[in-house]
């Protein structure tokens, strides 16, 4: 009986320790994941308007170019495979917005 109580006590202690210790790593993992999602979310938002670029107001186009430029350093810090793909995708999208701005100014 006393051995069973000992096991019970050990289990309760183990759960208590885990409850205190785990949120740290869990929160850390979430913290590491969140910025990764942030850059992708921002990338998708900023590059989702290429189809409408011709119809967007000049100020919005300039804002989109500025957001691309702000995102670029984050993408350049990604692992090699991601960086190769997303740096190119970001450039293609940014260059289109800039192209529309310049075309508008020339007209």
């Amino acid at each position: 009986m006393s051995r069973a109580r000992g096991w019970l006590a050990a289990s309760v202690l183990g759960v208590a320790v885990a409850a205190v210790a785990l949120p740290g790593p869990v929160a850390l993992a979430q913290g590491q994941g969140a910025p990764a999602q942030d850059w992708k979310k921002e990338f998708e938002e900023v590059c989702a308007k290429t189809q409408d670029a011709m119809a967007l107001p000049l100020k919005e186009l300039e804002s989109l170019v500025a957001r691309c430029d702000k995102l670029k350093p984050t993408i350049e810090k990604l692992d090699e495979s991601q960086r190769k793909v997303y740096a190119r995708r970001l450039k293609v999208c940014r260059d289109l917005y800039q192209f529309v701005i310049e075309s508008r100014v020339k007209e």
């Binding site: 290429t50 670029a53 991601q82």
Partner: protein, 264 residues
Amino acid sequence: MTGVDGLRRLALAVLLAAPTASAGVSFVPPQRYGQVELSSRSYAAKVPPVVFDHWRHRARFTCRLCHVDVGFAMSAGQTEISASTNRSGYHCGACHNGKTVVGGTPVFASCSAGRNVDEAPRCRRCHATPDPARLKKDYEAFAAKLPKKGVAGGVDWEEAESKGHIRPLDFLEGVSIHRAPLRMDKEIVIASSGWMTDVLFSHRKHSVWNGCEVCHPEIYPSTKSGTRKTSMIQISAGDSCGVCHTKVAFQIAECQRCHVNPVK
């Protein structure tokens, strides 16, 4: 079209054939047209280069999906493709991952960790010197039911899509971004010099598979009329229209498919 117009166009076609022929333009057999060798890293890695056939892919995907969303550059060597990017689910690996289902079949996975191509049959599906007889047979089977157009006998992709023979995907889950449909109907007359008929350029036809980003600004950095003058020699060397119309889209020696406006 009147008889005079017809004769005039025939005469122009003959005349146009001369500069294109002198520029080294000839009709490439359709099974080899659009073939691209991906070799920037393969020789260093001691594996045979990948010989990529555009026709195998363009029936299933828009140009934009691969050249914008997946990130394949329009110029050789610019994509920085590697076995590592493929294994990580990028470039070829965006579809060739053993999981993505296209046409009801999972797409075979690309690039194993090993480099011995002879011991991995999967590698040889891409890393192999094409067998000309098999390539021709594969193409004939692929194109048998598709409409053809032009002297080169290539697939008329536009009609193939309009008649529902092909339905190129423009969205890849987890890769593409949800976007509003593109509406671009502006047609442009591109003035030809001297005796040539003008080119009638349709944005609608080009943007439906390319979006805006494939062409602007990398291939066409300006929209202002008359700012850029391009010769057929430059085009046949792969500049301007020649970026696609010497590799994938119908061949430039089919003059009358672009030079459609009446003679001035």
